[in-house]
Symmetry: C2
């Protein structure tokens, strides 16, 4: 059964949505507003997030952006602010659907089902700048093509993606490859990194792995920090 989290601060509306979705066969969790909504949402890892945008504290847009940056979970935005600007902005930051209240039940359900359908098979896709990586198979999607990376290269790339822009230590990388950083074979790691780098250039990816002396490595956009 698909799980949906509803983010809505108005009690009446929240209960109505909860009811409607439950009747439609979804497992529903409604959350009120609090600090770190985005973080909590990710931990619940639902199949879809229904997000009301008339929120008191934090902007709904902000939540949407955070979720989208860190996960492939689809987000449907529901709002009473029928402004073209809002809609464009929402779609721009990655919302999958933007619906204005009042919205007929049938339409809401149909759109939700539609979004869910399109997300089939995307559950474990990690998003990088200009490419996607399947965390289970290490299938890499780029430029309308796809390749299956060797397991080790996939694991390494995965660590870099999860690390964001941060520096990733060799311990982290060894850990990912062999489950332990106890006995580090510096050289084995080195070779595997070289291999990953090579396939990255072969695939014309827009980022590189650069060394950070003594600390580890980091994933960087091509032509990044220009320190001339």
């Amino acid at each position: 059964m698909k799980r949906i989290v509803v983010v809505e601060d108005e009690v009446f509306m929240r209960e109505e949505l909860e009811n409607l979705l439950q009747k439609a066969g979804y497992e529903v969790h409604a959350v009120d507003l609090f600090e770190h909504v985005a973080k909590n949402l990710l931990e619940m890892s639902p199949n879809l997030i229904l997000l009301d945008i008339n929120l008191p504290n934090l902007s709904g847009f902000q939540i949407c952006r955070e979720v989208k940056q860190r996960s492939p979970i689809p987000v449907v935005i529901l709002t009473s602010r029928d402004q073209m600007r809002d809609e464009l902005h929402a779609l721009d930051i990655g919302a999958d659907e933007y619906l204005t209240k009042p919205c007929r039940k049938e339409r809401l359900l149909a759109r939700i089902a539609n979004v869910l359908k399109r997300y089939e098979g995307r559950a474990n896709l990690l998003e990088g700048e200009g490419f996607l990586l399947d965390r289970q198979t290490y299938t890499l999607y780029i430029h309308d093509a796809s390749v299956v990376l060797p397991k080790n290269q996939g694991k390494l790339l995965e660590v870099f993606l999860l690390g964001g822009q941060k520096v990733v230590t060799k311990e982290d990388l060894c850990d990912a490859l062999w489950g332990t950083s106890e006995f580090i074979d510096e050289n084995a790691l080195q070779v595997n990194l070289t291999r990953l780098k090579k396939t990255m250039t072969n695939l014309q990816m827009h980022q590189k792995i650069v060394p950070v002396r003594g600390a580890g490595y980091r994933l960087m956009m091509e032509g990044g920090p220009d320190e001339a």
Copy 2:
């Protein structure tokens, strides 16, 4: 550059759309209506199809359905018929977006960009009942999981999917595996089929490969034709 095919029979509207999309940086091909639109659309294999639903002969729905059954190309429906029934129907048969005229340019462009973005990496995904198959890597997506099939198993499954419900001959299968049906090693094919069947049951897929005596094999839904 992304290619969009516009299907619209009204001349004025068509030119306007063409213009708008070109300015937005797309490569646009407008097509008039004729027989076998769906077939031709598939041959053009654009990145997206913008489909007007007020068509004279064939129902736009029909076109949408045909395209969706045979390809993963996203379809955006544009219409002046603002009927809830139409919208639900459109979404139900797999349309990716449903917009009503008059529609502001910004919204149209934003929605198109949104749909395109979500389709990144899906260019070579074949759709089966309850699963997806990547034709390049033979990565199989099912039940929120993914596996890379061995090349031969992938090729076989691919042939079955492309064949639809029809019976697939052994020649077809040999052809897919070894590029020729000249010298058929019945047994080698047999073994490969068995392997595919095994992984299909392991993955709990909802269809089976059943033999058709003397003719070949066919892909069937589990618990299909009940001939008691």
